[in-house]
């Protein structure tokens, strides 16, 4: 073999080796990422560039109960938009990032969404700490629109950040008067020690007092607390009528069990917990939370045509243990995408300024629990609210709000 032939062969060999390494690296990366954006390219080929929708949510880690159905709903809605012709004659591309219930990691992930993928809008985040961690990267430095889908404590008034889940006003205004009528006047507020319960309780306390009730105790526990008998004893000995609970899973299971075993509900006490949706019914055996009252923007039991259609479609696509519920931010995600769609259609543009202007008063005629609309100037949504009571492991709707309830934020 001549020298030059040898060199060529060497180069070819090393080239193919490098190709192999590159491909192996790519494949490894794809497997490691576990189904990132590359899986969600629109199947059809389109002439125009796609509009990119960034979804940043917790597919893994402790909040994955919310992140998994959130990603499912987003995919379902975006596929549906593509099937009906896309937006402005352009296809939509969903770019999904797993924020892994880790705020530090999430900032890197959303930075990738806004700088590398150059998405036109970001939806996601479940916890308030997640929203607070990623909002600056998206809205201020990334100059991108951000839609936050989960029920939360309110007070989020950052420009270009739209909230599509219920606020304390929406969850308390109809529920608390109902609790006083159907439980009693003495309230106890056991809570997990983080921002949502603290701020929600402030509003709840105000509403309780306004309606003639009294707060016997308000108590905060470490978020992973799982021993509540001191509190249960205080609740029993003070003859509390309503336990307005904001302790969170997994500890809430032990708390409700101890409360049940001490005879709270048997003695006519009323449990209440405003994040309780259909998923939460699995946390404790049905008899332990018999009569628990919750107030959300949607329950399966509402049995509205819009909600039923979404349920049916969702369950066909994603059977398994992550159903479409309000507490997992699924309804907020649906609403967020549909309101954004309406805004883009009206603005005839995906530019942030144009979309934000249209989104400020966007409305949809139908959705889970009925239609809804943005309250201009607040970046929050007014929506129907439903009070439901758990009976033998199912919810029964006991009260519907008289029309959409105002969010009462940023006004």
């Amino acid at each position: 073999m001549s020298r030059s032939e040898y060199e060529v062969k060497q180069r070819l060999q090393s080239y193919s080796r490098r190709m192999f390494l590159q491909r192996a690296g790519l494949l490894g990366g794809m497997i490691a990422l576990g189904g990132g954006s590359y899986l969600y390219n629109p199947r059809r080929t389109w002439a125009a560039d796609p509009i990119k929708v960034g979804i940043a949510t917790d597919l893994t880690g402790p909040i994955s109960w919310g992140g998994i159905p959130n990603a499912n709903v987003a995919k379902m809605v975006i596929d549906d938009m593509n099937a009906s012709g896309g937006l402005l004659g352009r296809p939509l591309q969903m770019v999904l990032e797993d924020t892994a219930t880790n705020e530090a990691l999430a900032v890197t992930k959303v930075r990738k969404l806004v700088t590398q993928d150059k998405v036109d809008v970001v939806l996601g985040g479940i916890t308030s700490s997640m929203r607070n961690a990623i909002k600056d990267t998206i809205v201020n430095r990334g100059k991108t629109l951000y839609i936050y889908p989960q029920l939360y404590e309110g007070k989020e008034c950052t420009p270009y950040l739209f909230c599509t889940g219920p606020t304390p006003a929406q969850q308390c205004d109809t529920l608390i008067p109902w609790l006083i009528r159907n439980g009693g006047k003495k309230f106890y507020l056991p809570s997990a020690d983080y921002v949502w319960p603290h701020v929600l309780n402030e509003y709840a306390r105000k509403t309780i007092l306004k309606n003639g009730g009294e707060v016997v105790g308000e108590e905060y526990f470490p978020v992973d607390h799982n021993e509540y008998s001191a509190t249960v004893n205080k609740i029993m000995s003070n003859k509390v009528n309503v336990v307005f609970n904001t302790t969170i899973p997994p500890g809430v299971a032990a708390f409700f069990k101890q409360l049940y075993e001490a005879g709270f509900t048997k003695n006519g006490g009323r449990l209440s917990c405003v994040y309780y949706d259909e998923n939460a019914l699995n946390i404790t055996p049905a008899h332990e939370i018999e009569g628990l009252a919750s107030c959300l923007d949607y329950f399966k039991a509402v049995n509205d045509p819009g909600g039923n259609k979404i349920q049916q479609e969702y369950n066909k696509l994603y059977p398994g243990n992550n159903p479409f519920t309000a507490g997992s931010a699924s309804t907020g995600m649906y609403r967020g995408l549909r309101l954004w769609e309406a805004a883009v259609k009206e603005a005839k543009s995906v530019k942030r300024e144009d979309v934000a202007k249209a989104l400020d008063h966007a409305k949809i005629a139908d959705g889970p629990g009925g239609g809804c609309e943005m309250v201009p100037g607040t970046r929050h949504v007014k929506m129907n609210m439903y009070t439901a009571v758990a009976k033998s492991g199912k919810y029964e709707i006991v009260e519907k709000s008289k029309g959409p309830v105002m969010p009462g934020e940023c006004g």
Binding site: S64, P222, D224, E227, S229, P249, P250, A254, N321, N322
Partner: protein, 284 residues
Amino acid sequence: MSAVPFIFDVLAYGAIFVLVVLGLGVIASMMGIFNFAHGEFVLLGAYTVYLLEQRGVPVWIGMLAAPVAVAIVGLLLERTVIRRFYAAPVAAMLGTYAIGLALREGVRGLLGGQFYSVAAPLVGSFGVGDVLVSKWRTAVILITVVVMVASWLLLTHTKFGLQVRASLENPALARASGISTDKVYAATFAFGAALAGLAGGLMVPIYSLSADMGVPFLIKSFLAVMLGGAGGFEGAMAGAAFVGGSSAALPWFIKPVVADVVVFVIAIAIVKVRPQGLLSRWRT
């Protein structure tokens, strides 16, 4: 303040801690390995009960199956991974932490991140005076006492226990005397894992199943082992009773958020005053 619920609560929570720390204490005191995957062994025990219950098996059979299932997992892990760490306790902590993370996220994936309840074999409560006391928690207190005594007898009064202690004190001499230290370590680790599995099985009706159910217990369990002195099995039990009991008792008098910190402060103060338990009989 009424005395009955207070005393019962301290006993019940203390018992749960003892149950969780038993397995951890056995492995830490007999083998010098701090098993950071212990919380996930507890989780696996709970998951076993849940899986069997889903298939129509009575809960109490699930609770008997849980230690067996987790012992098998523990044995496999010991044979493949843990035994490589005996010479390096710090690496063992990181290694077992990684194993725990993998187990926890694996179970989370299987559960879709959700929470599931498991019905207790004994539902409801009985009256003591005018106070209602949980039947299942009472059963857990009794079972804990039995398991604790049985484990103690096994480790102090049987041939197996003698071999375990011999392997700990002087591995070279134990091997020279015909004891297969390799097998003894494997068996001890599997035994510790089985105790964790049992704890998980008994706990799951109280705390419900979720991927993170073992996490809140892990750090306090280490505190208990440190407090009791890692050298002795009885010390770990005393430490567990203290940590569990005080975690339950303090919220009766001070804010729960403060109580959590105070437990650690008291424990650290005790370790400072009585450090002799700590590290004294560890194999290096």
